[in-house]
Symmetry: C2
Subunit: 166 residues, 2 copies
DNA sequence: ATGATTGTTTGGAAATTTTCAAACGAAACA
DNA sequence: TGTTTCGTTTGAAAATTTCCAAACAATCAT
């Protein structure tokens, strides 16, 4: 009989690593998240190291970064001196929020440059000005829909969780 | 009197580079886009090289990548053997579409793993299964709102352009 | 206090990415 | 056909990022 566990776990680690990499993040972040996603119980730093075949240095740094972004969290475990980690209950929306910040920054960039350009009153910068107006509106609208999404997700998520608990 | 042009151009190149980098993309992509955003007229490869102080190798590769993603486009110029580039009229939505593809991929990843887990009928994988269900729903909902945004933007954009031309 | 166990920090090695210079190829012109 | 002017490709250098091993710090147990 095939070992479902290790096969699926391997696949998850692989695929999450690729996905994180595609988003410009460290592959290892995806690997750690996948390992924690797969495990029903929290994992210690050593567990993660062993499962991923990496040493403690990078895993320690990556778990901190992930915890800083609220994608995973440290969980207190009685009767153990080790730190245990699990995926944050809001991992998906928290990852999204990080992206949201970047979008807001784009809006600010456009507004700033537009304002800069407009104070010069230079006719030659008209094209740039228009482009920045378009950029600003684009990201403002995007912010609006991002907010809609977050709001609707919080409702949807509650529904999903209430299905499970009842 | 200060040279508005070079000051604003420098600032744009800097800031766009940082923004692209924050999204996990090559800084140079942001630099090229900024240079083209700033210029009312299309720029040749040599123009871009000179403005950014880079050699032709990387600029040639970056412009191709940008053109592949439809962020910039080659524009035909009469009486010149050079290639000229300008920002794509739909640069913002095209950049967004690229991100959209990554999101769709996340939905597919979740669906795939969920399906894998479910065929094993292994009780120990219940936690993973539930997490994948949540992940799939999250990104499905996200796709919906992304689509809403794209649709509304195309209306908004038409309005913006009709304001300018009239 | 001392020793054992665990997480963090750090200096440098390894790997990856970025960049350039030069060779190359293609197209336009003479 | 030969020459010039482009853009692309390529091999290696430079820079950056990732990673490990070892030193270190902190905490708990004895």
């Amino acid at each position: 009989m095939v070992d479902h566990h290790s096969r699926i776990k391997r696949s998850m680690i692989q695929v999450f690593g690729d996905a994180y990499h595609a988003f410009g993040l460290n592959r290892l972040m995806g690997h750690v998240v996948a390992a924690l996603m797969f495990s029903p119980e929290p994992l210690s730093l050593d567990d993660i190291c062993k499962q991923l075949g990496k040493s403690k240095g990078p895993i320690s740094q990556i778990t901190r970064r992930l915890a800083d972004h609220n994608l995973i969290r440290r969980v207190w475990t009685p009767g153990s001196r080790k730190d245990y980690y699990e995926v944050h209950p809001d991992i998906f929306s928290n990852a999204f929020r990080y992206n949201f910040r970047l979008i807001r920054n784009n809006t600010k960039i456009a507004a700033q440059i537009r304002s800069d350009v407009e104070t010069t009153r230079d006719e030659k910068l008209k094209t740039t000005q228009f482009r920045m107006v378009e950029m600003e509106r684009f990201y403002q609208l995007m912010e609006k829909h991002y907010q809609n999404f977050i709001d609707e997700w919080s409702v949807e998520r509650d529904r999903l969780y209430s299905q499970v608990t009842k």
